[in-house]
Amino acid sequence: MSIMELNGGSVIAMVGKDCVAIASDLRLGNQALSISSNFQKIFPVTDRIYIGLPGLASDVATLRERFRLRVNMYTIKEERELEPETFAHLVSSTLYEKRFSPYFVEPVVAGLSKLPTSTPESPKFKPFICGTDLIGCLNFAKDFIVCGTASEKLFGVAEGLWEPDLEPEDLFETISQTLLNAVDRDAFSGWGAVVHVLTPDKVITRTLRGRMD
């Protein structure tokens, strides 16, 4: 019995053209028994950053609370909004604090980071995604990040479907198809899915119906 597979669940993030997407399944299980089909693993951090937390459900909740505290403290102290790169390092150091009794979660961060040329009148953003292992080793991928019990399957499908510079609607379709087809081959993930597409002017959130088996 692996702790990382106790509750099940998977998360994926993808880069598009001036947009990013992050998606997860909705299952919460206890080994082979499914408990809930509405367990959220992706949480908004700021208006432009989302974090996905696949792994042990208890630590998902604990880390969400912990990140919220740390982000609020940062925002109050610095009097400015947190950038995704900064948040990724905050995630990394939070996890590494528990190097020898880790949180059993492998976070995925997706966000839009403000470019230096950005002005309040014409804001400019660069898509950002990153993943870490359970002790905070950062992985800045340029294409996509996958995590969770279906990660192998997600790698295979994403490698086949993803292409650079997808527009938001195409990115939504790509990430949705990747996730749904991967979790359908995974016993520990599935039971519906949720997708967030972050664009400079809005966040599109859609809940997908999936196979219920």
């Binding site: 399957k153 499908v157 490698e159 086949g160 949705s176 991967a182």
Partner: protein, 245 residues
Amino acid sequence: MPQQRQFNPYSENGGTILAIAGADFAVVAGDTRQSEGYSIQTRYAPKVFRLTDKAVLAVNGFAADGNILVKTVKQRLEWYRHAHAKDMPLRAIARLIQTILYAKRFFPYYVYNILGGIEEDGTGAVYSFDPVGSYEREACRAAGAAQALVQPFLDNQIYFKNQKPKPGQSHPTHLPLDHVLSLVIDSFTSATERHIEVGDGLEIYVVLARGHSAQGLSNIPGAQEISQTDEGERVFVVRRDLKKD
């Protein structure tokens, strides 16, 4: 303390195989890397074998067992030819493989097999096996090290899982040869990219039923014809490079 000695008769040699059935053709492919742990033993060890003029077998898992299995199957097919003066039909080969595998139920051949070819009725077929001989006929199947990477991709692209057809239209049950070949190549380049045990070379066997033109092979360079029956079944092989890192 008594001394303990243990001999492990099995090993795992990586690699991946894949087969897809069309309406009147079958495609059976495998990479050519053979590895043990992190070491590459050879960059060219075929995993796909032509059995008859309309049957191709892909064998993946423990290479030593795989080679013996193929040898046995080929021998049994030769005996059949001598006895009946014809090639064994595909569905009979499938049942033969089951028998051979199950005969070693309690010391199994550690191999996953996929058999592809043309049935007696002229349809393309794929049969997939587990190590002890359970088998079923399918439209497509991936097995081996990168099964988890390739199979869900095939579900999506071959079976159109999670895709809704346009109103009034329906998904095709079989895809044309050129489309299938490009999916096979995409699957293996993807698997090579993300799996360390997959790479080096790709061998794609194409079995065409009688009357099927080799049209779909035209835009794939290097397709080589291996055999042709009097009735018109044809077997081709396409060899391509995969990344070697």
